[in-house]
């Protein structure tokens, strides 16, 4: 599919900020490349859903949100976790299943949590996080707090009843929820057009009278600008906002996926719009990034990934005696 040209964003781009966005995308990219390698080596187990190709969505969105805002994410949430500022070591250690992981090894790749950063977790039942996000926003409203609850989910979620129940509730009660639909065109192996009668996802939210638009999810600046605008509207009390972020995952759904359902040509076509080199090229063309600076950012990203792996390797295993800890809250 083609994505229409979007007008240039309205944020005045500072060099330092641009470098930070690029650095974060590089960290996620290399973190995920390393994770794939560690999965093959048996260090990471279970399901592993890589974020490669979608980095601009998490990085752009998090750049536009405030520390007091809440984040609800999905089972493909390494990118969101890292962009939100959860230390790469805590994310990697979680994937190792170590006690120094951000969920003490109880959650793994699909269930990252961090209370201090209001990161309310990865949810692995598709659309299962949406009602929770509605409730977090309800709590803010009832307690008079002007915060945003940002809820990430994939386009596959829109086929679930919980999507419709949640968008309706948020609209009905005018709750401060920012719905961020990452449309990567495939729900596992099912193409959007094979599962939805209406493939223009943002129109579904409009039907619930929610302000709604689509954004080029391969353009970090477009994402940041749209999320900033939407979050400001939500924070003002103008009710929920819905953004459909059009993106693509370059890797398989999970490590178990042989990718029988899409062509190499389609993937290759999307890779031409890779959010990292396109952004780097744009910055270079604007005189905001030198070759040496790009190299330095690359090196910095790899250092962070290497540190994460070292910390994960060094981490302790949760003692088996603590297996039943935290099923209930100690009183």
């Amino acid at each position: 599919m083609s994505i229409a040209h979007r007008p240039p964003h309205e944020i005045a781009l500072e060099r330092e900020h641009a470098h930070e966005l690029l650095r974060q995308m590089l960290v996620i990219r290399h973190f995920e490349e390393k994770a794939a390698e560690l999965y093959a080596a048996g260090k990471i187990r279970g399901f592993l859903h890589l974020y490669i190709g979608e980095e601009a969505v998490a990085v752009g969105a998090m750049a536009a949100l405030a520390p007091e805002d809440a984040i609800v994410a999905t089972y493909r949430e390494h990118g969101q976790a890292l962009a939100r500022g959860i230390p790469a070591a805590a994310v990697m250690a979680e994937m190792y299943g170590k006690a120094n992981g951000c969920s003490r090894g109880r959650g793994g790749s699909m269930h990252m949590f961090d209370a201090t950063r209001r990161f309310y977790g990865g949810y692995a039942i598709v659309a299962g996080g949406l009602p929770v996000a509605v409730g977090l926003a309800l709590a803010d409203r009832m307690q008079g707090r002007h915060r945003v609850t940002a809820c990430f989910f994939g386009e596959g979620a829109v086929a679930e009843g919980e999507f419709h129940e949640s968008v309706n509730l948020a609209a009905l009660w005018r709750l401060p929820v920012l719905f961020l639909c990452e449309n990567n065109l495939y729900a596992m192996g099912t193409a959007l057009a094979r599962s939805e009668s209406e493939t223009d996802i943002h129109l579904k939210a409009q039907n619930y009278r929610v302000q709604s638009e689509w954004v080029d999810g391969m353009d970090v600046l477009a994402v940041e600008a749209a999320v900033a605008r939407a979050a400001a509207s939500v924070r003002r009390g103008d009710g929920p906002y819905f953004l459909e972020l059009r993106t693509f995952r370059f890797r398989a759904h999970s490590m178990a996926d042989p990718e029988l359902y899409r062509t190499r040509e389609e993937v290759a076509e999307w890779k031409k719009r890779d959010p990292i080199p396109t952004f780097a090229a744009r910055l270079a063309a604007d005189g905001m990034l030198t070759g040496a600076e790009l190299q330095a950012l690359e090196a910095e990203a790899w250092r962070e990934v290497d540190w994460a792996v070292d910390e994960a390797e060094r981490g302790e295993w949760e003692p088996v005696e603590d297996l039943e800890r935290d099923v209930y809250t100690p009183r």
Binding site: A70, G101, C102, S103, R104, G105, R106, G107, H111, F113, D114, A115, Y120, G121, Y123, I125, G128, L130, P131, V132, A133, V134, G135, L136, A137, L138, A139, D140, M142, Q143, T149, G161, E162, E165, S166, N168, L169, L172, R325, D326, V327, Y328, T329, R331
Partner: protein, 322 residues
């Protein structure tokens, strides 16, 4: 002293909790203007307004999940699901989210959520409004399951649920709402304790919720034949107070477990298994059970009566052990 009904006792707990704590609010289908499908919340909208007595669309999964989020966000939500059959639409949120979040987050988040629902048969409402699934809920670690069977418990256990840091599911057997009682507590009771409702030395009858009145009636009938049955009301299914059951079995050496679930995989099966595991040497007879017949609940009154446990069957089962 004026009599209080079970329904009024639940309402009194809601009112007192909401007066005492601004974080407490009730949401569910028709809890506001309608006054609650079982008239439990009648009048509360006038006192507390539509923000705190919050009518919802028919979106069980959506509003139960919103309850989870509100609890995470510092509120003390009480979610009312109209009947246990409808609660199956919200099982995803309860089982996959509410029950798991504490553990899955490595102890970072707790979900202080109370979910109330009506359950059980006996009202000619056929196969989509009459079932008993409390054992399904009790199967799930991470939540607590409470089945108040008396007017006092209806209030005291709801107040207790609101002091819990984790999700509590309260099943209110719908035939109990008109039940009358004398005393209701002013303070929260404690979740996780069974009660001996009638002392006896010949046989132990273990039950909970809507089967308690039938079991007490059976004990009365047995007494007329000189058989003193000890009736235990479990009150909480998770955590299960098996020690109170075992203490009684150590005295009577015989036990019948009564519940309204279908026999296969009923909660009675769990109680029986724990008696067998922990008190096998005390038993003078195999543990028996009286449960519902294995059919979807029929509408016709005589068929529904035949499907549900009745006092006569409990009497027969008890006598069969002696």
């Amino acid at each position: 002293m004026a009599k209080t009904t079970y329904r009024e006792a639940v309402r009194a707990a809601l009112r007192e909790a909401m007066r005492a704590d601004p974080r407490v609010f009730l949401m569910g289908e028709d809890v506001g203007r309608y006054g609650g499908a079982f008239a439990v919340s009648l009048g509360l909208l006038d006192e507390f307004g539509p923000e705190r007595i919050r009518d919802t669309p028919l979106s069980e999964s959506g509003f139960l999940g919103a309850g989870i989020g509100a609890a995470l966000g510092g509120m003390r939500p009480i979610v009312e699901i109209m009947t246990v059959n409808f609660s199956l639409l919200s099982l995803d949120q309860l089982v996959n989210n509410a029950a798991t979040l504490r553990h899955m987050s490595g102890g970072q988040f707790s979900v202080p959520l109370v979910v109330r629902m009506a359950s059980g048969g006996g009202r000619s409402l056929a196969a989509q409004h009459s079932h008993s699934f409390e054992g399904w809920y009790a199967h799930v670690p991470g939540i607590k399951v409470v089945t108040p069977a008396t007017v006092a418990d209806a209030k005291g256990l709801l107040l207790a649920a609101l002091t819990e840091p984790d999700p509590v599911v309260i099943l209110e057997h719908a035939t109990l709402y008109p039940l009358e009682g004398d005393d209701t507590p002013d303070e929260p009771m404690q979740i996780g304790l069974a009660a001996v409702r009638r002392p006896g030395q010949h046989v132990t009858l273990v039950t909970y919720g809507g089967s308690l009145p039938k079991t007490l009636a059976a004990a009365d009938a047995l007494a007329k034949e000189g058989i003193e049955a000890e009736v235990i009301d479990l009150r909480t299914l998770r955590p299960l107070d098996i020690d109170t059951v075992l203490a009684s079995v150590a005295k009577t050496h015989r036990a019948v477990v009564v519940d309204e679930m279908w026999k296969t995989g009923s909660f009675a099966a769990e109680v029986m298994a724990q008696i067998m595991e922990r008190a096998f040497d005390e038993l003078d007879a195999p543990v028996a059970r009286v449960c519902s017949r294995e059919v979807p609940m029929p509408y016709a009154k005589h068929l529904e009566e035949a499907a549900l446990p009745q006092a006569g069957q409990i009497v027969t089962a008890a006598k069969g052990l002696l």
